[in-house]
Amino acid sequence: MAQHTLEVLVENSPGVLARVAGLFSRRAYNIERLTVGPTANPEVSQMDIVVSVEGHALEQVIAQLDKLINVIAIKEIKPESAPEVHDTQPDYQN
């Protein structure tokens, strides 16, 4: 299955990691890697999520993520333009 990297800006509020992780679990999407870090704005955090899905399922992942009230923006990082992944945390598998 193809891996896709999503750069997700979220409100830095309690429980937001649980909301995102819970969504992947509930909808049976597989997270390959998840890192969370701060941004220049202390009210906003960035999650980089690597997910293994095919075809339309990626649109579904993005659309469902976007429904979370605390999710502000989602960007798919295409491989050709991929910057270095901010791998400051150990990898988490679910």
């Binding site: 979220v10 409100e11 309690p14 429980g15 649980a18 909301r19 819970g22 969504l23 509930r26 339309h56 649109e59 579904q60 659309a63 469902q64 976007d66 429904k67 979370l68 009230i69 605390n70 999710v71 502000i72």
Partner: protein, 578 residues
């Protein structure tokens, strides 16, 4: 500005949000809120179980189009709200639930009556809050009502720590709500509207596939206008009964597992599905890979995540369906002037199916009472302004099939979650929301035994609902599946409800009028008697034949092409030109 308690700030916030009624029960953690509730102009209906409060809130919401509100304490009070919250999520009902939480310093210590209700409801609530600072209460309440009632409606939970209710704070209700991550899009894209109009004029076999979103968006008038404009057939799903008049000649009825032959086949054979606020639920599509295989799809929905979720959409129109239809109607008028497709062969086929395979049922040969007959007479005698609620199972399907719905917001049921026990508390909420309208709950004997305690609430609070128990002394739908798929091995589906409980006596014990009926010739008089009592709730025990089955049926996991009109009986397809 003088300081108030967090509890007073909560009540002020609810008043500012326009709440006029809420359903709930106090307990330890929420107790501080109940002191200012005592003085508030908001009507509080004291229920007997939190689940009743939750379904009453959804019943109220679906009848009025406003946000339904329920309130409970921490721990078990909150967990008892889980089913109604999940129910409201599945059926997109606007609802706000307020729960007390243990004091903030006790959170995480497994304190008495502590449950992480925010965590528990996270997978299905549209959003939720845990408030530990009283200063956050007004903003959380304002946001909760905004989120619950806009976009695709849904349930929002606000969990408030007890000390946040007790501490002093300033009350400042926000004048506006701006959430960076929540900006629902109401107006449809102009290009999508143009594409939709174009696709419609290219279709010779279109069907309007209408879901509950049309009722949520109050778009029934626009639906009537566009259906008449195009002259194409309409199907209304279980959640959309009443969105389009059953008496309209273009109406093929309800699609799905127990839909009419015409509605199911109309979707199957269509070359275009004009999908309005519907979500391609498995109960409608049957085996998805065989669903409407020749149809292109226009999918109009306010929730972008519904697009392509179950079925690819050739044209996706994201927006409020009322706005969408208001834009599509003039676009379609213009397109039809250039190219008016001839739908008459298609309509002829559909009308042939409609007349060949109307809904029907056999009267029991032993002279006993037919459940379908009871429900049909309830619809006829009480008329099209009546609000009906139902539980889940055979009686629900018969109530969807054999009552003619002419108006939106007159049919309330648990469509997505399939919550047995929904009918009585939902009827209570509906009657509070529409006190001058007759409200009938059509319930099963199984469902009724799950939530009937709310009849005490109704009796004491002048909420004169009417309950028709379709008593077949069984978990009827499960029994039907055992008949069809488990060789008639009736494992644990016999409830013996004609022996125990005595429903009329139970009703009388709860302060209601209890009636009973078991002969076909007594049905009309019994219904009329129940209709004549308006100062008390009425419960009628209709003691019906237990072997009646719901037909037509598309068995779970099979194709809609394999619809059966009776046991091992398919429609005579050879006689139909399709």
């Amino acid at each position: 500005m003088s300081q108030v308690t967090g509890a007073q700030s909560l009540v002020n916030s609810l008043e500012a949000a326009g709440v006029d009624v809420m359903f709930g029960i106090p307990g330890g953690a929420i107790l501080p809120a109940y002191d200012p509730i005592f003085d508030s102009k908001i009507r509080h209906v004291l229920v007997r179980h939190e689940q009743g409060a939750g379904h009453a809130a959804t019943g109220y919401a679906q009848v009025t189009g406003r946000v339904g509100v329920c309130i409970a304490t921490s721990g078990p009070g909150a967990t008892n709200l889980v089913t109604p919250l999940a129910d409201a999520a599945m059926d997109s009902v606007p609802m706000v639930a307020i729960t007390g939480q243990v004091p903030s310093l006790a959170i995480g210590t497994d304190a008495f009556q502590e449950a992480d209700i925010r965590g528990i409801t996270m997978p299905f609530a549209k959003h939720n809050y845990l408030i530990t600072d009283p200063a956050d209460i007004p903003r959380a309440i304002a946001e909760a009502f905004h989120i619950a009632s806009t976009g695709r409606p849904g349930p929002v939970l606000v969990d408030i720590a007890k000390d946040a209710l007790q501490k002093m704070t300033d009350f400042n209700y926000p004048t506006s709500v701006n959430l960076k991550g929540y900006q629902p899009k109401l107006a449809p894209n102009a290009q999508a509207i143009a594409d939709a109009a174009e696709l419609i004029t290219q279709s010779s076999k279109p069907v309007f596939y209408v879901g509950g979103g049309v009722i949520k968006a109050d778009a029934h008038r626009e639906l009537l206008e566009i259906a008449n404009l195009l002259g194409a057939p309409v199907v209304t799903t279980l959640m959309a009964r009443g969105a389009f008049p059953d008496s309209h000649p273009l109406h093929l009825g309800m699609p799905g597992m127990h839909g009419t032959v015409a509605a199911v086949t109309g979707l199957q054979k269509a070359d275009l599905l004009i999908t309005l606020g519907a979500r391609f639920d498995d109960r409608v599509t049957g085996k998805l890979s065989t669903f409407a295989t020749n149809a292109k799809v226009i999918h109009c929905d306010i929730d972008p995540a519904e697009i392509h979720k179950n079925r690819f959409a050739d044209v996706a129109v994201i927006g409020d369906v009322k706005h969408t239809l208001q834009a599509l109607i003039p676009a379609l008028k213009a397109a039809l002037k250039k190219n008016q497709p001839d739908l008459s062969p298609w309509l002829r086929q559909m009308n042939s199916l409609k007349s060949s395979y109307p809904l029907g049922y056999d009267q029991p040969s032993d002279g006993s009472l037919s459940p379908q007959y009871v429900i049909e007479r309830l619809g006829k005698i009480s008329g099209p302004d009546t609000i009906f609620t139902s539980g889940v199972g055979q009686h629900q399907m018969w109530a969807a099939q054999f009552i003619n719905y002419e108006n939106p917001r007159t049919w309330l049921n648990s469509g997505g979650l399939g919550t047995m026990g929904y009918a009585v508390p939902a009827a209570m909420g509906a009657k509070v929301g529409a006190p001058d309208t007759t409200v009938w709950a059509i319930d099963g004997d199984g469902c009724f035994q799950m939530t009937n305690q709310e009849l005490v609430t109704c009796a004491l609070n002048n909420i004169p609902v009417k309950i028709a128990i379709i008593n077949n002394e069984s978990l009827g739908m499960v029994r039907q599946w055992q008949t069809l798929f488990y060789e008639g091995r009736y494992s644990n589906t016999s409830l013996e409800s004609k022996r125990v409980p005595n429903f009329p006596m139970l009703a009388e014990a709860m302060g209601c009028v209890g009636l009973s009926c078991e002969r076909p010739e007594d049905v009309d008089a019994t219904i009329e008697k129940a209709m004549s009592i308006n100062d008390q709730p009425v419960v009628v025990d209709f003691r019906v034949h237990r072997d009646a089955m719901v037909w037509p049926m598309v068995a779970a996991g099979t194709s809609n092409d394999d619809i059966m009109i009776a046991r091992e009986t398919a429609p005579d397809w050879d006689s139909q030109e399709l």
